[in-house]
């Protein structure tokens, strides 16, 4: 029997295990929307295509499965671009299906025509502009393969509207078999004795854990290995949760806003193990002075990430699920030097992460209070800015997918729509979305999606009435010239939420000046976190609160600022 191209798309999505797609309809993709009912694919309508792609990312980030976003041609598709770039940077498996103008109009600058294939070429792992209805099953199978395989990433499949309307016999979804490539070479196991030899010569080894540890699914293997090694260990922002925060060798986050202990250990180490991290500039500081005394052993699935910052002594290419057990098996056949003295120094109390004055800062007290009251296995989604770094510093999740943020791209407006995707994937989990007042307004329209679906997302705005992180840089490095970062004319977020029929309330800093907080404040936070309805909490934050420690741009990690310089 002949069926339409749109039906073929949906059948192929089902064959890939897709149950949920996020999108926004429009002209060229109307045939696909027309076919949705009864297809077995549930569509979540967001209120902007960027909301759809971030929601799909949230879904993918918390489940590890492919997130799917749909949009129409032209502006619909270009509104996906930020999310596609975000997925590329943070290795998120994502498939975007875009409608395109009909085949005969392609290249004519037709209404709502954009060269989406061209626009997204450098942001995608793989993409396809479908030319005939016959190509649809293979395009979807190959697209999902590349989205999931190796280092996951985004894929775009652009389908002209006449291909969605056309009919053909459909014999079923196809399977994609990749061709052999030289790039698929993997570590052969010979690396293990080299690593052990490096360890035996080392006196100050450390381990750095990145997102690759989560993506590989090798968390149990990694944790066993780290327990065996018991060397000072820290994580990138996407590696948070991979190592239990209570592990005696764990030092927290490393990098620009990393802990003093982590950055100091990284500066002193003579042997650095990197597990699934691409070592971007937010992690390394000034690259030429990154881990200046260290030999580097880099475990990585994506060869493109090796030797990017500086050459490694040893690169171990492959999935951590394969390479870590091989390393551990070799390790257990040898005796290692006693690293306990080094560990005691690196993890010692004299390297405590924050100045006590910093810990007393009301916003940090507020976040500590909030996080300490979260139910087990909650997921925290942070937007981008100061609150993101405070949350990364203070939320101590032992769940590998318990903290989600736009780390590589740093896309403001990410958190609220991503929280929609996370809550849909985890309906029984407490999902806490922490935003700033700037970022929240970038996708504030998704309050309508939250309300429409009745999702019990808990939203917090840390409202300092500034673009806080930019303002912090202006304060520290641009002589307090607060150019265009003043948001003191923000709307009343509590009233806005009410307009969306979302319960909302405000807490101010004074509530956090008491320690411990009053029973009333504590009860209010508990009620908020346990509500079965969406809720918004606006926390009024001091306008000039800053995030410390901080490594200035272009400085080495050893040059981190621990607190503000006293006023002159």
């Amino acid at each position: 029997m002949e069926i339409k191209g749109a039906d073929i798309v949906l059948k192929c999505l089902r064959a890939e295990g897709v149950e949920l797609v996020f999108g926004y309809p429009g002209g060229a993709i109307m045939p696909l929307y027309d076919a949705l009912e009864g297809s077995g694919v549930r569509h979540i309508l967001t209120r902007h295509e960027q909301g759809a792609v971030f929601a799909a990312e949230g879904y993918a980030r918390v489940t590890g499965e492919v997130g799917v976003a749909m949009a129409t041609s032209g502006p619909g598709a270009t509104n996906l671009v930020t999310g596609i770039a975000d997925a590329k940077m943070d290795s998120v498996p994502l498939v975007c299906i875009t409608g395109q103008v009909r085949s005969a109009l392609i290249g004519t600058d037709a209404f709502q025509e954009t060269d989406v294939f061209g626009v997204t070429l450098s942001l995608t792992k793989w993409s396809r502009l479908v030319r005939t209805i016959d190509e649809i099953p293979a395009a979807i199978a190959e697209g999902f393969y590349w989205a999931r395989s190796g280092r996951p990433g985004p894929v775009v499949i652009d389908i002209p509207t006449d291909m969605l309307k056309a009919k053909k016999e459909f014999s079923g979804p196809v399977k994609f078999t990749p061709h052999a490539r030289a790039a698929d070479a993997k570590a052969d196991g010979g690396f293990t004795d080299t690593i052990v030899a490096l360890l035996q010569k080392s006196s100050k080894p450390v381990a750095l854990v990145g997102a690759g540890a989560k993506l590989s699914g090798a968390i149990p293997e990694l944790r066993r290995l780290l327990d065996d090694l018991s060397i000072p260990t820290f994580a990138t922002v996407h590696g948070l949760g991979a190592v239990p925060p209570e592990a005696p060798y764990y030092l927290g986050m490393v990098g620009m806003h990393g802990t003093r202990a982590a950055n100091t250990a990284l500066n002193e180490t003579d042997l650095l193990f990197v597990f699934g991290a691409r070592l971007d500039d937010r992690v390394t500081g000034e690259p030429t002075r990154f881990a200046p005394h260290a030999k580097i052993v880099h475990f990585e699935i994506d060869p493109a990430q090796l030797d990017r910052v500086r050459p490694c002594e040893l690169s171990v290419i492959g999935n951590l699920a394969d390479t870590i057990p091989a390393f551990q098996a070799e390790l257990r056949r040898h005796s290692l030097p006693d690293f306990s003295g080094w560990r005691a120094v690196a993890c010692g109390p004299e390297r405590a992460e924050l100045d006590p004055r910093g810990l007393a800062q009301p916003t940090i007290r507020f976040l500590d209070e909030l996080f300490s009251r979260l139910p087990e296995n909650s997921v925290v989604i942070a937007d981008v800015g100061q609150h993101q770094m405070w949350a990364a510093q203070r939320y101590r999740s032992s769940s590998p997918r318990g903290f989600i943020t736009s780390g590589g791209l740093g896309a403001m407006g990410f958190a609220l729509p991503a929280a929609v995707g996370v809550q849909l994937a985890k309906p029984d989990t407490c999902v806490l979305c922490v935003s700033g007042d700037g970022g929240f307004q970038m996708n504030i329209q998704e309050l309508a999606t939250v309300r429409r679906l009745g999702l019990p997302v808990k939203m917090v705005i840390v409202d300092n009435k500034y673009l806080g992180m930019v303002r912090q840089w202006q304060q520290l490095f641009y002589q307090r010239n607060y150019a265009e970062t003043d948001l003191s004319d923000n709307p009343d977020f509590v009233e806005i939420a009410k307009a969306y029929k979302i319960h909302s309330f405000r807490l101010n800093e004074d509530a956090m000046r008491e320690f411990p907080v009053s029973t009333e404040t504590g009860d209010e936070i508990d009620r908020f976190l346990r509500s079965t309805e969406p809720e918004l909490l606006v926390f009024d934050c001091a306008p000039e609160a800053n995030v410390f420690p901080m490594v200035p741009a272009g400085a080495a990690l050893s040059e981190m600022l621990l607190e503000e310089e006293p006023a002159q």
Binding site: S122, D302, A304, R308
Partner: protein, 100 residues
């Protein structure tokens, strides 16, 4: 100037992704020659690169789904010294041809 040979399956966008790896690093592309080769395609590029960029380019090219193999030849002089013919000349030629 260093010569690179990249064997690839000639699928949509693959050649553009190969070239983009160079252009995103602000490298000029004075020599680009692509042609069918056995069952695949081969593109030869001559690029002015430093050692660090060579490593980055190799790894990025290998990250492209339909790239099969990357190799490099000896350093060589570019086939021509100017990167592109001046646009004005080409336009003038076109106008002259139209007038004729």
């Amino acid at each position: 100037m260093q010569t690179f040979h990249i064997r690839y399956r000639n699928t949509q966008g693959t050649l553009m992704r190969i070239l983009n790896a160079a252009s995103r690093r602000a490298l000029d592309l004075p020599v680009v020659h692509a042609e069918p080769s056995e069952h695949d395609h081969l593109v030869t590029l001559a690029l002015e690169v430093n050692q660090k960029q060579v490593g980055q380019l190799y790894r990025e090219w290998y990250g492209i789904a339909d790239v099969i193999k990357v190799s490099s030849g000896a350093a060589q002089a570019p086939a021509w010294t100017t990167a592109h013919p001046p646009a004005g000349v080409a336009m003038e030629d076109a106008r002259a041809a139209a007038r004729a």
